[in-house]
């Protein structure tokens, strides 16, 4: 930067556009830069520690049998989490089956058909619902379905509990996806005589579909890792899935919870391997979801 060394005109202050690197302001600036670099490093440190320890402990326990065998009892050798993977897949599937239609329909109403205040309050309710602790969702589902004996401790109860947690995510991401669809499309559809449902179902939703799928993927990733709702609704089971409505079902997350504090070394190693698989599933789903939205 230039520095003015000649006599300035009257009325203008003389000065240099360079800042001295020893002035207190510069030093403070550099200090604070250093501070936030440290913050960033501290923020990423746990991620590094957790993932590396998980890889280290889980990888050594990995074997193909884990995917096909049932959970071991204490003092057993081997064993696996085959039924837990099936259970997680089924319960997350039931959760998605319930929450995706409801969530997408609600988001359609929010973006297409609602006006000012109504939309604001429903979005408010959605955001508050997303803050409800997962254990409360489990407790409520227990009260509605299990305590009243409509179903027993079962996959359906677990699926319903998970759907309560998935719903706000789906509504929010579908809402944003629909808002991004340009008005031109809607107006063109109306211009050729489409009714509301035709516009939405055949024009707007297909246009927003990639983002909606991303949202569903993210909510599936979250639901797969949830434990608290499942310990009240699906409990755990050492057997393969036999019934959807009256038998407890195993899940990866609950298996990790149960075996983590066990005194049996074998069960602990199964827990580590299950954690590794669970985290890999969740991470891959998150990465795919992020890449899908980024490539737009």
């Amino acid at each position: 930067m230039t520095s003015f060394s000649e006599q300035p005109q009257t009325g203008f202050a003389r000065g240099s556009l360079n800042r001295s690197s020893n002035s207190p302001r510069t030093l403070f600036n550099n200090l604070m830069n250093g501070v936030i670099f440290a913050c960033g490093a501290l923020a990423l440190l746990p991620l590094l520690l957790v993932l590396s320890y998980l890889l280290f402990k889980g990888f050594s326990s990995l074997s193909f049998d884990l995917f096909t065998e049932l959970p071991p009892a204490p003092l057993d050798k081997g064993g696996g989490f085959g039924n837990a993977i099936v259970g997680t897949a089924i319960m997350v599937g039931i959760g998605a089956l319930i929450s995706v239609p409801i969530g997408v329909a609600a988001a359609v109403y929010l973006t297409e058909f609602s006006k000012g205040n109504t939309a604001r309050w429903i979005r408010f309710a959605t955001n508050v619902l997303s803050g409800v602790p997962s254990i409360i969702a489990g407790v409520v589902t227990y009260g509605i379905l299990v305590a009243t004996k409509i179903v027993g401790y079962s996959a359906i109860a677990g699926g319903v509990a998970l759907s309560i947690l998935m719903l706000p995510i789906i509504v929010r991401t579908t809402d944003e996806a629909l808002q991004l669809v340009s008005q031109d499309l809607r107006q063109a559809a109306v211009g050729i005589g489409a009714t509301n449902y035709q516009t939405v179902l055949q024009v707007v939703l297909p246009a927003a579909l990639p983002s909606i799928v991303t949202g569903v993927t993210l909510s599936v990733a979250r639901a797969a890792g949830e434990t608290a709702p499942l310990i009240f609704t699906a409990l755990f089971s050492g057997f393969w899935l036999r019934s959807l409505i009256d038998e407890p079902v195993a899940s990866l997350a609950v298996l990790v919870y149960n075996f983590a504090t066990s005194f049996d070394q074998n069960q602990q190693s199964v827990a580590w391997a299950a954690s590794l698989i669970l985290v890999l599933l969740v991470l891959i789903a998150s990465i795919i979801a992020r890449f899908a939205t980024r490539s737009k």
């Binding site: 923020a43 919870y257 954690s275």
Partner: protein, 320 residues
């Protein structure tokens, strides 16, 4: 227009009655589902509240202020759990808020090139994607032993401070309030960083440019212009993180020691409402279930208030 089309009359067809009914019922279906979300929220509150009525009638508001949790004698009080919930969340936020805001500033300013920033943003999001039980598992095997070493050092030199004093039950290298607080810090950090970053990024560019034009350094701009402008967004981020920390169950249950006693020491085992529920629900019966539901209702109201306040802050800012 070719010649053969000129002679044709085109009658605009009215929509058939069936079409119009179908359309109206479609809009009504979506409306019902949308209002259903608010209904679900209310129903959750109602469910938890109604199942706790029995305990409410038995213990009244004293439930919140007594410390005795004694199932065999049917005496219940959740003061230790409320203390544990608030204390662990407070410790978590104390650590996560400065680090989270610092990271948010790092990711919203152009100190680092954009490509590196994108990767870092993604990595911070990954922190949020790791399931709670995995954090608990890691905490048991890595965090607690590490904090045992740190804790013994703190106890030796600062043990005269109540928070670093030797706990009456449990041990310094065991589960307690400190490991639970730190794992909560790790779990709430992504929320604070993401929302604060959004708030900082949405500060209008001309404010920043005006500050630079007056000769401010980067940090003078940040501390005097940008962060004050984004302050309500940061506040709502902290409150959402608080709500999440209070409701966090699995990682905390595995690290907090599950002792129903209030102790000033950070190393003493404690309990939160969520872990109380997680531990005792499966084998509870009768009045104990109702007492647990009463506690769940308290937790629900606490997180509801925090989340509503966070939303109100955001709505107030948007109206400006």
């Amino acid at each position: 227009m070719n010649a053969s089309a000129q002679g044709r009359q085109v009658d605009p067809k009215n929509r058939s009655e069936a079409d119009r009914t179908l359309d109206r019922s479609f809009i009504w279906t979506t409306r019902i589902f949308a209002f259903g979300i608010a209904a679900i929220l209310l129903w959750i509150g109602f469910q938890v509240g109604s199942q706790g009525i029995e305990a409410l009638q038995e213990f009244g508001l004293g439930f919140l202020f007594t410390s005795d949790w004694n199932p065999p004698r049917s005496i219940y009080g959740v003061l230790p759990q409320i203390y544990g919930t608030l204390a662990s969340s407070f410790i978590g936020l104390l650590i996560a808020v400065p680090i989270g805001i610092g990271t948010a500033v790092l990711l919203s300013e152009n100190i680092l090139p954009l490509s590196i920033r994108t990767v870092l943003v993604f990595l911070v999001e990954l922190l949020a994607a790791i399931p709670s039980v995995v954090y608990g598992l890691w905490g048991i095997f890595v965090l607690i032993p590490f904090l045992g070493t740190v804790g013994r050092w703190l106890n030796e030199y600062f043990g005269w401070l109540p928070i670093f004093s030797t706990p009456q039950s449990g041990a310094i290298g065991g589960p307690g309030l400190l490991p639970a607080g730190i794992i909560l810090a790790i779990m709430t950090l992504p929320i604070i960083t993401a929302i604060s970053r959004d708030a900082l990024a949405s500060v209008p560019k001309n404010l920043r440019e005006a500050a630079y034009g007056l000769g401010c350094t980067r940090w003078e701009t940040l501390l005097r212009v940008i962060i004050p402008t984004a302050f309500s967004g940061i506040v709502s981020a902290v409150m959402l993180a608080l709500g999440r920390a209070m409701g966090e169950t699995m990682a905390v249950t595995m690290l907090i020691g599950n002792s129903n006693r209030i102790s000033p020491s950070l190393f003493a085992p404690s309990n939160t409402i969520a872990s109380l529920l997680a531990n005792q629900f499966a084998e509870a019966g009768g009045l104990q279930i109702s007492a647990l539901m009463y506690a769940a209702f308290v937790l629900f109201i606490l997180t509801l208030i925090v989340n509503i306040l966070a939303e109100l802050v955001v709505l107030r800012v948007k109206r400006l």
